[in-house]
């Protein structure tokens, strides 16, 4: 199993000044670039440390938000492509349905792949609903645009004989000719985050690696099973390396220390969904059936509120979730190295195995020293044991 360290590079100093939205409408005067510079450097230092610790690196992006100050996932990756030498670099990823220029995405990814000498894993994401307003893309066409961009990027990376023509529904080029071509042939591994069995099936049909985030103990098994079943159906062996699961991980010398770290990292989960309701479900973003249920239930926020559940199916309020609840829900593995490994193994067996652990080793207010200790302890005391997991 490969382990990846993920942080959203939160700009948490603004959090106390935000009201009922942490996204879309918050004024950027609440961002102090001097503090922001310090934060960027410390988060990059933590990722650079991963190269020594044997933990791979994962970035993502969000827009117009204080929960994630990484608004271009390829920028930290470009820095880390040179600053690191060994570990792999996963951008999960680029919201290609929201970007206006897929060719630029192909160029960014190919450049990072070459500079890193073939260590890039490229993620293509549809993006959460509140990314629609910052990009001003048509929510009713998002899925279609996502797949067209996906197809174009892969063709652009793998066409080595000069320009080709692309006159699609959403993207138009007459001379597609991407330089550099990627280091990995035919192209870097392709990932996509999924949150439902339906989207897992689409990814399985194309052999993509799926990153499953925040779905927990109750919702994850059906997603992995849908993927495995579809992969077999189309003649692809669903090896564990096609499946990734994200967990918030706090490791300590004692139960209390590990849980205290997880509690701070949970600042991510507690703030991530705070968004003014009008941005939570743009029309056309979800299926008519799902949207109709939201309409009758009084909006998208009600539907989002029941997404996190305990093992026995009790809904948990993500904004006030305790460490115990997060562990119960399978969102967090926390405590001593033994605790973390035992929780990981139980989850692994429950969902039928997976090949990548996306470790949120920093989140919320967890400071630099604590993050370094957390990652180091994980590397020393948990990482050597992940090979014990079957599969």
């Amino acid at each position: 199993m490969k382990v990846w360290h993920f942080s959203e590079m939160a700009y948490h100093p603004a959090w106390p000044q935000l009201g009922d939205s942490y996204r879309v409408i918050i004024p950027s005067r609440l961002y102090d670039p001097k503090i922001g510079a310090d934060l960027y450097h410390r988060y990059l230092d933590e990722w650079a440390l991963c190269d020594e610790l044997g933990i791979n690196i994962m970035t993502n992006e969000h827009h117009a938000t204080a929960t994630c100050s990484d608004s271009v996932c390829t920028i930290p990756m470009a820095i880390l492509a040179r600053e690191t030498k060994k570990v792999r670099l996963l951008a999960l990823g680029m919201p290609i349905g929201n970007r206006s220029d897929p060719i630029r995405v192909a160029e960014e990814y190919a450049t990072i792949d070459v500079i890193s000498r073939g260590r890039l894993e490229m993620g293509f994401v549809r993006g959460v609903p509140f990314e629609i307003s910052p990009a001003n893309t048509n929510p009713a066409e998002l899925t279609e645009r996502f797949w067209e961009a996906h197809d174009l990027i892969l063709k652009a990376m793998t066409s080595l004989d000069g320009p080709f023509n692309w006159e699609g529904r959403h993207f138009h080029y007459r001379q597609v000719n991407v330089w550099p071509r990627p280091y990995q042939q035919p192209h870097p591994p392709v990932w996509t985050p999924v949150g439902s069995p339906e989207s897992a099936i689409e990814a399985a049909a194309r052999g993509m690696v799926i990153g499953v985030l925040n779905t927990g103990w109750v919702r994850t098994p059906a997603i992995f099973e849908a993927y495995r079943s579809k992969a077999r159906e189309v003649g692809r062996e669903p090896t564990p390396d096609r499946l990734a699961y994200m967990a918030l991980i706090g490791v300590g010398e004692t139960h209390e220390e590990g849980r205290r770290r997880a509690d701070q990292i949970l600042g991510y989960s507690r703030t991530s969904g705070i968004v003014a309701p009008q941005f939570a479900n743009p029309p056309g973003y979800v299926s008519p059936r799902a949207a109709a249920q939201m309409l009758k239930a009084g909006g998208a926020m009600g539907a989002r509120a029941t997404r996190v559940q305990t093992k026995d199916g009790r809904p948990i309020n993500p904004r006030t979730m305790s460490v115990d609840e997060a562990i119960d829900a399978g969102l967090s593995f926390a405590g001593t190295p033994d605790d973390v490994f035992d929780q990981l193994r139980a989850f692994y067996n429950h969902v039928g195995g997976f090949g990548h652990l996306l470790m949120m080793g920093q989140g919320g207010l967890l400071n630099h020293e604590e993050t370094v200790t957390n990652l180091t302890l994980f590397s020393k005391s948990v990482l050597p044991r992940v090979g014990e997991l079957a599969g």
Partner: protein, 259 residues
């Protein structure tokens, strides 16, 4: 539910009344709330109300992506049903469709009535002519849409699944046609001189989505138009003040006949 076939496209349609033809093009939301208005129109006209492609239970051919497609579709409807001297009425998004029809061809259109129509850009790039309905908090959106939201807005919790699905399809289709450029065609203004029919521009005096000042600019941009405010009405005056709106359209049509 009735259906109407226009070439290969099958649409949900409401029809009512006898008399000269009136084609009503609805706005982006609150389709069912137009019933009272339609019944009152039906005392004077044979009223045809197609639910736009992608809305309600109307199918949307994959290639239908813009208001231009809707304009050509309804011009086809007039031809295929051999309708002549049609009273064309459009509310909000439907007003935009009506304008796009008229700049193309007014051959079968007798008169045009626009009710709080969208579709034209008057202000500069940093001015917002049309409120961003996708960024307004829900309660403010209702206050801007209706003079009295409590009377106009349905209780969504009581809808059955089919009704709720129809409404979310209306909203998704509105986004599809109107998301970007936002609820307008940047090129439409330069062709408004082609709206060569007598037009009545009606506007809710409390419209907080598209202010009455926009309506005044619109009617001044048309070759031959009148402007009338509907009191105590928001963006959908025909829902909140159906008697007044039908009366205004009927007076307008009668005056046109006498001209």
């Amino acid at each position: 539910m009735e259906r109407i076939q226009i070439g290969a496209v099958s649409l949900e349609v409401l029809t009512a009344g006898e008399g000269p033809p009136l084609l009503f093009l609805h706005g982006g939301d609150y389709f069912l709330q137009n019933r009272d208005f339609i019944e009152k129109l039906a005392r004077h006209w044979r009223v045809i109300v197609p639910r736009h492609p992608g809305f309600g239970q109307s199918e949307r051919p994959d290639g239908f992506r813009t208001v231009h497609d809707l304009a050509y579709l309804y011009l086809d409807l007039l031809e295929r049903q051999d309708l002549r001297n049609v009273m064309l009425v459009g509310s909000s998004l439907g007003g935009w469709i009506a304008l796009e029809m008229c700049v193309r061809c007014v051959e079968r259109i007798g008169c045009l009535a626009l009710i709080d129509a969208l579709g034209v850009k008057f202000g500069g790039r940093e001015e917002r002519d049309i409120a961003d309905i996708y960024a307004l908090p829900g309660d403010e959106l209702l206050r801007r849409t209706f003079f009295d939201p409590r009377r106009a807005v349905p209780d969504y919790a009581r809808l059955d699944d089919a009704e709720a699905t129809a409404i979310v399809r209306d909203r998704a289709a509105t986004a599809l046609y109107g998301w970007r450029p936002y609820m307008h065609n940047p090129g439409l203004r330069q062709w408004l001189h082609r709206v060569r029919v007598l037009a009545l521009v009606l506007w809710g005096d409390n419209d907080g989505i598209v202010a009455p000042g926009y309506g005044e600019k619109l009617y001044r941009s048309l070759p031959d138009a009148k402007f009338e405010l509907i009191r105590e009405a928001g963006h959908y005056p025909q829902i909140e003040r159906p008697d007044e709106v039908v009366d205004a359209i009927e007076r307008f049509a009668r005056a046109e006949v006498l001209r």
